[in-house]
Symmetry: C2
Subunit: 413 residues, 2 copies
């Protein structure tokens, strides 16, 4: 018998019929003898309905009251799911964030969890209840209701799993696991049985948005085994774990991630002197624009080109900021390009395997894709390419790294 | 500067436009320098929507979960009203029953208030906030969310006023005060400036359902001055207070109440011996049927007729119960009549004025209304009459006791 935390998102509980299906699934686990804590989101559409009400009243609603308002959405789901479990003869109890006591800071609408009181939960479990906890919400030290921001329910689930030392945290979604790449782009994309937290972070931050990145970080930090599963289809899903030292042969590459939401800015002919990077990126940061890839290459003539990428919606604002900057640092000009995309190969295995970069560049060269920028990290190599070559590049890399096939070591294990 | 508790019901906050109107009214009081605590119900329709969801899941929903579910309705209103106040430059904070700490027993869906922690509220008031509190809900000693049952928001308001020693508790409704009788029956019905708690209880229990009887009892017990006002029309409303010793000339009669929801049962030819009343009413009570008027008259022949009234919906069940009872006590027969109504004259003044009863009976005789049953209390005399004479009787009494005219002492004061 183990302790499992299960999280069901808004679409999984989007109607009474869906809630009944979720109850059926939870009841099954309970009957198998597991202790179960369920974390639920608001029924899909409910949060938006409440936000619309707030905006009818105020353009920028008071954050404290916004939290009091939208936290009701999850509370409704917890009560309904508890009833649906009770109907199936499964003892269940609903909990708000405040009732559990999920203590957060007081940053309303984007609070961070500080501490979870696991006493009440343990007591509930010992009495034989399935505990149904409202995701996405907590309470500050003064008893004010807070919310964790959109997608915070994943974080709630992971935090509860950590606090309760659960054996597994299962995140139910509308996909049956994490894939080697987007199946809509590559036919041969394959569900991974396992992926490490680090790999998942690199995958998640680039479009394979199965899980909130924050939840994955949290899970990694507290070493909570995390599993992504389909809400209404059977299957093992993908287990996200620490790197497994026992596994002799780690596959080199876990997957190919990509992101279309990139735009490139280049400040051309920048006098090559200390502090230039700061002079360019300082004002960008102050304007609350997030920068992704940054590349600088010094030239021979005492000048350099400085390039970076931002999300496409931020491009016009970034251009405005750079106009003034370019003048003040005597740069020649500012160029921008919104028709680019980023492709990355991700895998903890590349730490111990040389030649991943050269294999990547060779694969791209084979299909005639020109590389505009390159950045590398411990477990990821990313390139910026022309957007129109994106699918071609992803397919070439997926095939080149053998991701279409079941990995050798897994079939041998 | 005084401290006022204001309560707005579901229709008063039934839309964003209505909530804005309420905010306007609250803001006006605040700007006049008063400390204000506002108690709100769920937006009209919301509680029913939530109950319907619960019933989609379970025929008889788990009471604890029912409370968790429906308490969200008031929470939504508190947040929206707080935003609407903030928009008007009035600092406001929402509170759930749990946040105030309105401690109740654990009788889910019909909990009773035990204690209110006024520290947090006082702190909020001292910081200059208008406090917007969710009506109808509380929390038990284990932190479970409870609700006070339908109409519990009035009780919340009165309880808060008592706990905070407020100068007045204002209940905003869809009528502009308490009337001498139903204006739909008597054209000359007049709004009362004042009425005592006792009179209000007698009026409320018989159809003038402006206020929850429970709230009036509570207000009387803790001597909270209670005022009934119209939500969206200006006016002084009706103040419900203790009997005013300073007021030299208390009007004899405050009003004429009536109730159509009465049905009469008579057990005819009951052997006149001790314990008969219990033998008849015991089984009725066990069947959860509430009895209103009870009359017994002993005859000469060792037999008596025992009559009582119940609400019309309970009549068939009461008849079933009495069939068995009648046999077991050797009564001759059971008769029932659902075409009756009750008319009462109510007034604390009748304590010191003789002749109210005879004036009442004379007025009814004058218009040819036959009296079937009579009961009296300290401040009320009720008669059961044929339903078809109800309006006639009410008008005759209203006129006979001079309720069409402004009372002398009020104009002199």
């Amino acid at each position: 018998m183990s302790l499992i935390v299960q999280k069901f998102g808004g679409t999984s509980v989007g109607s009474i019929a869906r809630i009944e299906q979720v109850a059926e699934k939870v009841a099954k686990f309970r009957r198998e003898g597991h202790d179960v804590v369920v974390v639920v989101s608001a029924m899909s559409g409910e949060t938006n309905r409440l936000i619309a009400l707030a905006h009818e009243v105020q353009e920028r609603p008071v954050p404290r009251e916004m939290d009091a308002l939208i936290s009701t959405g999850e509370q409704v789901t917890t009560a309904l799911l508890s009833m649906a479990l009770d109907k199936r003869g499964v003892k269940a109890k609903s909990y708000t964030g405040s009732q559990v006591r999920i203590l957060t800071d007081n940053a309303h609408t984007k609070a961070r969890i500080r501490e979870i009181d696991n006493q009440r939960l343990h007591a509930g479990l010992e009495e034989g209840y399935v505990l149904v906890v409202a995701g996405f919400q907590g309470v500050d030290e003064h008893g004010n209701i807070t919310t964790l921001g959109r997608g915070g329910s994943d974080t709630t689930a992971v935090a509860l799993a950590a606090a309760l030392k659960a054996d597994e945290c299962q995140i139910y979604t509308d996909v049956d696991g994490v894939y080697t790449t987007d199946p809509r782009v590559v036919d041969g994309a394959r569900r991974l049985d396992r992926i490490t937290f680090e790999e998942m972070l690199e995958m998640a931050s680039m479009g394979s948005k199965v899980l909130q990145i924050r939840a994955v970080e949290f899970a990694g930090k507290y070493q909570v085994p995390l599993r992504v599963l389909h809400s209404f289809e059977e299957g093992p899903g993908t287990l996200i774990t620490l790197e497994d030292a026992d596994q002799m042969e780690t596959p080199t590459i876990a997957g190919i991630a990509f992101n279309r939401d990139e735009a490139k800015l280049t400040v051309v002919g920048v006098p090559d002197m200390p502090g230039v990077a700061y002079k360019i990126l300082g004002p960008i940061g102050e304007a609350n624009i997030e920068v992704d890839v940054i590349v600088q290459n010094a030239g021979d003539d005492g000048h350099t080109d400085f390039s970076f990428t931002v999300s496409r919606t931020d491009l016009p604002r970034a251009e405005d900021v750079l106009k003034d900057v370019a003048t003040s640092i005597n740069a020649r000009e500012v160029r921008s390009d919104r028709k680019i995309a980023k492709v990355s190969v991700v895998g903890v295995g590349m730490r111990s395997h040389a030649g991943v970069a050269s294999q990547m560049f060779a694969a791209l060269a084979d299909v005639g894709v020109n590389i505009q920028m390159i950045t590398t990290s411990e477990i990821k190599i990313s390139v910026i390419i022309e957007e129109k070559y994106l699918e071609l590049a992803v397919r070439a890399l997926h095939s080149s790294f053998g991701l279409d096939r079941e990995p050798q070591d897994e079939s041998a294990a």
